[in-house]
Symmetry: none
Subunit: 149 residues, 2 copies
Amino acid sequence: MPLFLSTFVNKVDRKGRVSVPASFRAALANGEWPGVVLYRSPLLPAIVGADLAYMERHSAEVDEVASLSDPRQALSASILADSRQLAFDPEGRILLPADLLAHAGIDEHAAFVGRGKTFQIWQPAALEAFNAKAQALVQKNLAQNGGLA
Amino acid sequence: MPLFLSTFVNKVDRKGRVSVPASFRAALANGEWPGVVLYRSPLLPAIVGADLAYMERHSAEVDEVASLSDPRQALSASILADSRQLAFDPEGRILLPADLLAHAGIDEHAAFVGRGKTFQIWQPAALEAFNAKAQALVQKNLAQNGGLA
DNA sequence: TGTAATCCCATTGACGCCCATAGGTGCCCA
DNA sequence: TGGGCACCTATGGGCGTCAATGGGATTACA
């Protein structure tokens, strides 16, 4: 099981290529296949990254019939359909598809954000705004509960 | 076990041929036989694609006697009866039978949709409509549960 | 003998591979 | 303990290869 930590901002070159942070590559390398799976987050303006094993778990949930009635299956199915398998080039880069770039609003730079078993790719400014909101929410919650983190 | 991911739209040429996406061909190649099995989806206006091993699993469910009383067996039996085995041509294309095309309403373009252990072939506009509905269902559910995907 | 399916060849455009450079960091050795 | 060096990561660009597509020719079947 991979573990994605920390945040890295890398450049998107003219061809749409980005270096995947070396530590993320190392986490992905545990699997059999040298690459990553990406799909558009259903709720956020971000791209989600995971390894093949993660997709296989989704695959196990999708069954011949159901799907339409069961929201959980519908989610897994739509993720499978939306995802793409991207291999690393010899330098550890991937080519980001145009529609994924559009979904996240990414142009010059891409921010890789570790989220544990998966990671996300954001447009840096959008990430900053999202983080600020998340911060505020956390602060408010801690104040209410008097918790010390 | 193959893993079909992502969505690809390919052209149907004048002769009724379509290129099967290279990554799907790779997933199918794990099996012994260079081709694919197709049948009409019982629920959706789409064609279902799978490998031979998948059909063998259906075959195992169907018993000489029973069938009609058990809905699951009945489904497997009808799928086996409706399915056909199509070989790739040297370029990796298949010739889509006319009745399958009619069932899915496919004319100019065919959308190959990964669903994990199987895939589907749709008429692109119909797929878009279906995806929109599935999206709405997913959104509603995620919003309610506060999940972050 | 006509219709249809399969094979073969050609084209093109995208993608993956190779090379080269730079900057930064950590390591080794004096 | 300080300096120098080597490696690794991130980046840019040119080129070859393969996937997708079109069309013609040959073969198989009715």
